[in-house]
């Protein structure tokens, strides 16, 4: 855990720094791979950047709306407004952020006459890079921590040796991103139907959430101990597989041998 590092008079909050660096690398990766998916670098950079801003604004707005009493108790009004827009982590609502990001994505694709599924495929490398950045941010802040373990790679955190679940998630994203870059650079994904890369990403992240969550000690749960991210993971897997089912032919196609003259 390394929440802050002090360089002379400057105190740097490492989780925030990891996320900012992550956004920049994510946009760079997506725009450099743009040509392999028939997009221009500018198109993908602006799509990724605006999408990130929309997601962030939605997440913060959601948090402010859900905790309006906290902000209305701040006086004067100017301080309350500044507090609502202040750069502070932990004051975002992930669900509002996803809805805002999704709505912006749809609007952006329509405005620029881009096929939404192709655009989604092109943004997958940025999403996976952000997954890696989130893994680093959680590692620095000590969030997303694991249960106690005696395994040799356990990390000393919050009063004991624990599974490095932040690193597990980070590695899952590294493997998915590495595989995707290999597919794109070797043109193996050429000719795939639009949306296939997004489906594979959804499948990979779903498997990661399903497998890593039981090792977490701070899993958000609902109801009778159901781990929310495992439910989301299984939903992602099922949606991804149903996408493949939807595209598959209803009957096996028999290939007839060509007639000999």
């Amino acid at each position: 855990m390394l929440p802050t590092i002090v360089v002379g008079p400057v105190s740097l909050r490492m989780p925030g720094l990891a996320l900012i660096v992550g956004v920049w690398i994510a946009l760079e990766i997506a725009s450099r791979l743009a040509q392999h998916q028939d997009f221009s670098e500018d198109q993908l950079f602006s799509a990724g950047f605006c999408l990130h801003v929309a997601r962030l604004a939605g997440a913060r707005l959601g948090f402010v709306l859900l905790n309006l009493d906290l902000y209305t108790s701040i006086t004067p009004l100017s301080r309350a407004v500044l507090a609502a827009f202040a750069l502070s982590s932990g004051t975002e609502n992930i669900w509002f952020g996803l809805v805002a990001g999704g709505a912006f994505f749809w609007w952006f694709a329509q405005q620029n006459e881009l096929a939404p599924l192709r655009l989604a495929d092109a943004l997958v490398p940025a999403v996976l890079m952000m997954g890696i950045a989130v893994g680093f941010a959680n590692f620095f802040s000590g969030d997303y921590y694991g249960v106690f373990t005696t395994l040799p790679w356990g990390i000393d955190l919050w009063g004991g040796v624990r599974h490095p679940t932040q690193i597990y998630f980070l590695l899952a994203c590294v493997i998915l991103l590495g595989g995707l870059i290999w597919l794109l650079l070797t043109d193996r994904a050429q000719g795939w139907p639009p949306g296939t890369i997004s489906q594979l990403c959804l499948l990979g992240l779903g498997v990661a959430w399903l497998l890593i969550e039981p090792l977490r000690a701070d899993s958000p749960v609902f109801g009778d101990g159901w781990r929310i991210w495992q439910m989301i993971g299984l939903t992602a897997i099922v949606v991804s597989l149903l996408g493949f089912a939807w595209r598959a032919p209803s009957q096996a196609q028999n290939v007839q041998p060509a007639e000999q003259p």
């Binding site: 000590g142 009063g159 399903l210 159901w226 299984l234 897997i237 149903l242 089912a245 598959a248 032919p249």
Partner: protein, 181 residues
């Protein structure tokens, strides 16, 4: 072998959904392990109070988690502490007034069990007392002075920490706040 037809994909999806669902059921978080704040246990406001098990002066085991579901006033004290002596009647009265809804739990720090037992008897204390003769729990809760009192809500989350004596009105007001939360 990859599925080829829609039916094969649907069968694969169903099989994976069943296996995944079973995996989720098997990995549900036990009720006692649910952390309401999503933060690690720590002796700080807004964090779940770290659990501990000690012995009573009579030699029985007692844990903080024994009071799960109730608001808890966790009071660290010592027999030699005069302010602790002053606040004991208030704690005793509160423990009787809020019986069943909130618990007062005293932890004597760095003192032998026989001394704690005689003090409990002399002062007529009937609320639960634990003996932390090694001072480990006091260290866990970062107790720097006596008395130190942690107010813990019914979810097990620390809502206030007070160092120094508690007056009766203050104690009752805090307990009422805890019960409202």
């Amino acid at each position: 072998m990859m599925p080829h037809t829609r039916l094969q994909w649907l069968i694969l999806t169903a099989v994976i959904a069943v296996i995944g669902g079973s995996w989720i059921v098997a990995n549900r978080v036990p009720e006692e392990a649910v952390n309401p704040t999503g933060r690690p246990p720590s002796a700080s406001i807004g964090h779940p109070a770290p659990d501990f098990t000690l012995q009573t002066p009579d030699g029985d085991s007692i844990s903080l988690s024994d009071f799960r579901g109730q608001a808890v006033v966790l009071n660290f004290w010592a027999t030699w502490c005069s302010i602790c002596r002053t606040e004991t009647p208030h704690l005793q009265a509160a423990s009787l007034e809020f019986q069943g809804e909130a618990a007062v739990f005293g932890v004597s720090v760095r003192e032998p069990a026989h001394l704690v037992a005689s003090t409990v008897e002399d002062r007529g204390i009937t609320y639960p007392i634990a003996v932390d003769s090694a001072g480990e729990v006091g260290q866990l809760y970062l107790v720097r002075a006596f008395p130190t009192t942690y107010f813990i809500d019914s979810r097990g989350v620390i809502v206030e920490i007070r160092t120094g004596g508690l007056s009766e009105p203050l104690l009752l007001a805090r307990l009422q706040d805890l019960l409202i939360q």
